[in-house]
Symmetry: C2
Subunit: 353 residues, 2 copies
């Protein structure tokens, strides 16, 4: 197939029947796509990216200087179907005056849904009780007054307050808080990055929106966050500044009946310390969608072996609605970038590199 006057775009995954036509229907583009349902082969990418104007990747696909150099000066846009961009060498992209699109925000609701699921599963022994049924052990259990019990997320007359804590208080945290209000959550505490200004306007707005159930919203220090949370959500960005921010010292301060939920980045939590916290009863339970070193987390991983820990394989954004939304946004970013127009979601690569 001759290039003619068409621009080449390389697409590193099949984005499905609802999104691929956005690209295929464009007569001015030559679409070269890796359509297998597995990670693109590096050699395929290096061969095909030569002379491309646009490159659409997912988070398994490393976009480094080698890829950019292979593409050559024709490459004007990289678009990733992800909210994170750790797989992209942002400095190298900036240096070559390439634009970078990503897909923030569209996955907020899907991740918040999963955060609620994990909080409930961690408290209610959802992992260990489902496993017990799978193993055929239900018939061995007769009903007992406190059998299978865990702490209740909802308030009750004998336990009328609940404090949810958020380590990081961005959009996903706020969407999670909103979902928890009808469970009777009375207090919300959070930490933000030290550089961000206090936002009493945000706190006031949340109180106004969720009164009378919610009685307080407070920005606190890490120590208070650990000590006061009944349910603690880790929802901060990764990177050196937050590496193992949930460590042994943090976990030892938590309430014995509390649960920890991590739907953000595995590196934020020290897995060894969390394992000890669960095994020795410093906290009640945990639900994690992410684990440091994933997906190389096998059945011998201490968190996988710990009955009080629910581990799911990074499915935070894994809904059809959200993934179609992400893929659509990635395609639109690519097309807008090629046309020299404003991209729906462009990362400011000069500022980030």
């Amino acid at each position: 197939m001759s290039l003619g006057s068409r621009q080449k775009v390389v697409v590193c995954r099949d984005l499905g029947p609802e999104v691929m036509p956005l690209l295929y229907e464009r007569k001015d583009l030559e679409v070269v796509a890796w359509l297998e349902d597995r990670k693109v082969e590096r050699s395929w990418l290096l061969d095909n990216v030569v002379g491309a104007a646009g490159l659409l990747v997912v988070l398994t696909d490393k976009v480094d200087a080698e890829v950019l150099d292979k593409a050559g000066p024709s490459l004007r846009v990289v678009s990733t179907m992800s909210v994170g961009y750790e797989h992209v060498d942002v400095a190298a992209v900036a240096q070559r005056n390439i634009r970078l699109g990503y897909t923030p925000d569209v996955l907020t609701d899907a991740v918040a849904d999963l955060a609620v699921m994990l909080a409930l599963m961690a408290g209610r022994n959802g992992g260990s009780t489902a496993a017990l049924v799978q193993e055929g052990r239900w018939p061995n259990f007769s009903w007992a007054p406190f059998g299978f019990c865990g702490p209740q997320l909802s308030t009750t007359p004998i336990s009328p307050t609940r404090t949810v804590g958020f380590l990081g208080f961005g959009r996903i945290a706020q969407a999670t808080l909103k979902r928890l209000i009808p469970f009777g959550i009375t207090h919300c505490i959070y930490t933000s990055s030290p550089s961000s200004a206090p936002s009493t306007a945000l706190e006031d707005a949340l109180l106004q929106e969720h009164k009378p159930t919610l009685q307080s919203v407070r920005r606190v220090d890490l120590d208070t966050l650990a000590r006061e949370s009944d349910v603690l959500f880790v929802l901060a960005p990764g990177g050196a500044g937050t590496y193992h921010i949930v460590d042994e010292a943090f976990l030892r301060k938590m309430k014995r009946m509390s649960v920890l939920v991590n739907p953000s980045r595995g590196t934020l939590v020290d897995s060894e310390a969390l394992t000890r916290a669960l095994r020795e009863g410093w906290i009640w339970g945990a639900g994690v969608d992410v684990v440091e070193g994933e997906p190389h987390v096998d059945r011998e991983h201490p968190l996988v072996k710990e009955p009080r820990c629910v581990v799911v394989p990074h499915i935070g954004s894994a809904t059809f609605e959200t993934r179609v939304g992400m893929a659509t946004l990635a395609a639109k970013n690519l097309l807008a970038g090629l046309a020299g127009e404003q991209m729906p979601a462009e990362l400011d690569v000069k500022a980030r590199s």
Copy 2:
């Protein structure tokens, strides 16, 4: 120990350190308790119930004519720590002018919490993905655009409406609806027992409370309930009138991306039909806290073997807060009944027998 003027009460389980003192501290009672953490032995019960004035049971303990006759005319109160009373021969109790206490309402919030957990797990493949991690298979999975995807509970811009359906619309159903509103639920449909009057007042109150997210609340027939629900909660009483009300015909009408949640009674759902519905893709997934024939549900049970079905072992009310609440209410019912006072929650046995 001599009875003296004290009344004997037989307690068939250890109700824990927060509740047993309510009974032990009463000088006018002789408390005879089965303190082992397993079902009371029938022979122990028959031996010890002789001459008792009060009997406190849980739902594993059959209270039939034999038990009542063994107790003799001294027995004035039976108190069960459960919302259900299928284990009690209500007619035999009524015939002997014995009062019966039970524990409705206190478990509403715990069950509603679990209903939300199961709805999320059923949609988001919470059972099969957690099992995959347990089996050590996470390292085999590379991220894929639609890997592990399921239907999203929350609305999204490309999917802006959600209909939740309730087969039965009592307190637990309404508490579940309340929890789902922040997920963006736009429509609620429900069925009630044919004998109950339509309640436009209730519908109006719910709309008023949950506007503008919730746009409609409608009582419908079973056919409409099956056809229109995105998430369907089975929350009706058991018994002959609802036996296998969710059968093959019902399931075949449901949406292909819908999920079914049963936190109420196993007999309401035909397990064989549900297995086929999941295996053949009539619906997306299911989450069940109850299964017909439980706890004799082993690893060969078709629903346990079905990856799209999350099965937990009847943990609806299994939180410390709720079980302490239920045990406290059961003890108070017993004491009030013995004193000839109004019981906090008494079943009208004459009307039910």
